[in-house]
């Protein structure tokens, strides 16, 4: 008989919103080994370039992931625009920025909710989702989609939003900021929450860098890297600094994401106040030729959309490297020696988006 407990964790598991599988080897409740199996969501859409032209592919990019749908399509469009040297009108760039930040708000609130759920704090989960629902409403008002917005296109965006509507959005987002403060207090101050987060899954600065972490995972370990500082879309025109925490544990990651909520509120306001007038899209002609790695900062970190065209309607290669893909090695490292009860917390701490990862 075994001297250890071996249990399958997933692919279907109530704490996993998405299917991954871990062979957990336990001694009492201590995880001594966690071997992952992924690929349950693998569809293989990168190969769709052979069947869909570069414009149609925006619909696919929009559906890579339901959480960062907009940023995916934006990163794809930026890639194609770079290859084709399309200049996007500034108003479209600002709208992209606003929507990106609202998507980040929605994603972080979703993450907070799921995290609360993972450590068994149901009412906190409900409250996070209650607030998130208001963000989703705003997105729906502006774009027509709750989850998958479908407003980005090569050369701009499909819809304009009147300035007074934007002002209204800014007011409402700021109001939400007050509610988010109350939420943040619980996440950052509550003792039972701290018990579940502080010191769990610690990655020191060097480890995080070595493991190739991106996004809040990296910033929570004290590395100030945020792809938005590249200044894509309208990020060059707004004022912000990457949010960094030092401790590198689950609590620090939570803190980074919570602080980013307020940062996003601020960025939405800044972008809305600076937004210029004019068109929201240009007509694009010709076919892409050349290659470009388009990088954007998703709620989960840096995403890479690599597009390579050979001058036909069909791209030669389209490849997406999502932040979760970069964070999985860190997850494997963190799972060693944790408690069984920490497994869902650790899985969630990287804010996994398996759908993007496996494509």
């Amino acid at each position: 008989m075994g001297t250890r407990t071996v249990i399958p964790f997933g692919p279907q598991h109530p704490v996993l919103p998405e299917p991954i599988h871990l062979d957990l080897v336990l001694e009492d409740e201590k995880v001594v080994e966690a071997i992952p199996k992924i690929g349950y969501v693998h569809r293989g859409f990168e190969k769709l370039v052979e069947k869909m032209d570069f414009n149609e592919l925006v619909y696919v990019a929009d559906r890579i992931c339901g959480i960062c749908a907009f940023i995916h399509s934006m990163a794809y469009c930026q890639g194609v625009e770079a290859v084709m040297s399309v200049e996007v009108p500034p108003r479209a760039e600002f709208l992209r920025t606003i929507w990106s930040e609202l998507a980040r708000l929605s994603s972080h609130l979703l993450w907070l909710g799921l995290m609360a759920d993972a450590f068994g704090f149901e009412s906190l989960f409900m409250q996070s989702f209650r607030i998130r629902e208001k963000i989703v409403d705003m997105l729906e008002e502006m774009t027509g989609g709750r989850i998958i917005l479908g407003v980005c296109r090569v050369g701009g965006v499909r819809r304009d939003v009147p300035n007074d509507a934007l002002a209204d959005i800014v007011r409402r987002v700021k109001d939400l900021g007050v509610e988010m403060h109350r939420l943040a207090d619980v996440f950052l101050q509550d003792d039972s929450v701290k018990h579940r987060l502080v010191g769990v899954g610690v990655l020191i600065r060097d480890q995080a860098a070595e493991l190739g972490c991106v996004g809040p995972m990296l910033r929570a370990s004290g590395v100030s890297r945020d792809t938005r500082t590249l200044g894509y879309a309208a990020y060059g025109s707004v004022d912000f600094a990457p949010i960094v925490e030092k401790d590198g544990d689950s609590y620090a990651r939570c803190a980074v994401r919570i602080r980013e909520l307020f940062q996003s509120v601020d960025l939405v306001a800044q972008a809305a106040s600076k937004i210029p007038g004019g068109e929201v899209g240009v007509k694009v002609s010709g076919y892409p030729e050349g290659e470009y790695h388009s990088r954007c900062e998703q709620p989960r970190g840096e995403v890479i959309h690599y597009v390579k065209g050979d001058g036909t309607r069909y791209l030669q290669r389209y490849r997406v490297r999502t932040p979760t893909f970069a964070n999985i090695p860190a997850l494997l490292r963190m799972l060693q020696g944790c408690e069984l009860a920490d497994v869902p917390v650790l899985v969630l701490t990287i804010d996994p988006c398996i759908s993007c990862t496996e494509r």
Partner: protein, 302 residues
């Protein structure tokens, strides 16, 4: 008494969805939509669930997962395909790793539209599923009472259409199991089956006027060859197969030996024989994924 209408418990599984529908499933549990108003609980456990909400499309890797989860749900159960991917595959339909909608592996009862499906549609889907649950339960109950009245007896050529229909249902399962759609029982025509009645003995199990199981046998020398033991999946693991085999054995009083064969993975077919003491004789390959295992036993005292 609409017991199911007031307490539909759901199981959610993300087959290969983009997350969009999953988030909306979760969102429908949360304050704005709060499906718990309607008694809905997201159980996360197939053993407790009534409604299986599947998002995303089917691929090679999650196919077995979906089957397992469905198999582990107690009757009555309903499958709801949530979102377009689960319905047809959406934009990913042409991807090399997408087999199609959920209905390629599971009997889907409700299709929920939307990309991503909106919480309102999901709730509507649950309410539709509830209706179906009630119907299935009514059917289950009517069958349950009648299990005791099950009769087993000789079938005649008149029963051929019903037996053929049953055979196709059962072998559909087999075909999926072996990924081999060329199985003879699936291709058999009605006339062909009718002709079998001239040479072979058919035994049928009848509940409430419906044939739910059958088996056939033919004498060859001292040996009776039994084959095509089929029981409607709903009635599996209730000993019906065993009773059918016993009955068909009894109809060959002169046989000294009984033989049969099944596919190497067909646990449901093997079980009744093994329980009656049939031992494997040999195994031979019939197609890439399918082996045929021959079983036999001598009659007691023979």
């Amino acid at each position: 008494m609409k017991a199911f209408a007031k307490s539909p418990w759901v199981l959610h599984y993300d087959a290969s969805s983009c997350n969009g529908c999953d988030i909306e499933v979760v969102a429908s549990l949360t304050p704005l939509y709060d499906v718990e108003r309607l008694g809905v609980i997201n159980t996360g456990n197939p053993k407790h669930a009534d409604i299986f909400l599947v998002t995303g499309s089917v691929n090679a890797q999650n196919l077995m997962v979906l089957r397992n989860l469905y198999e582990q749900m107690p009757e009555p159960r309903v499958v709801a395909a949530v979102g377009i991917c689960a319905t047809s595959g959406c934009v990913f339909r042409e991807c090399y790793n997408v087999m199609g909608g959920v209905d390629t592996v599971l009997p889907v009862d409700v299709y929920v539209p939307g990309c991503a499906a909106r919480p309102e549609s999901i709730i509507d889907g649950i309410l539709q599923a509830v209706e179906i649950l009630e119907k299935k339960h009514a059917y289950m109950k009517s069958m349950h009472g009648r299990m005791k009245e099950m009769t087993i007896g000789r079938a005649t050529a008149v029963d051929a259409p019903e037996i053929l229909a049953l055979q196709k249902i059962v072998y559909q399962n087999e075909a999926e199991m072996y990924d081999d759609w060329s199985l003879a029982p699936l291709r058999q025509t009605l006339d062909d089956l009718r002709r079998d009645f001239e040479t072979r003995v058919f035994i049928k199990a009848v509940v409430g006027g419906k044939i739910i199981g059958s088996v056939k046998g033919i004498m060859d020398g001292d040996t009776a060859h039994l084959s095509r033991l089929v029981v409607h999946p709903y009635f599996w693991k209730q000993g019906i197969g065993t009773r059918l085999v016993q009955e068909v054995e009894a109809s060959f009083p002169k046989a000294k030996r009984f033989e049969t064969f099944t596919g190497q993975k067909s646990r449901h077919t093997m079980e009744p024989y093994q329980r009656l003491g049939y031992l494997p004789i040999r195994q031979e390959k019939v197609s890439e994924h399918r082996d045929r295992v021959y079983f036999g036993r001598d009659r007691e005292g023979a």
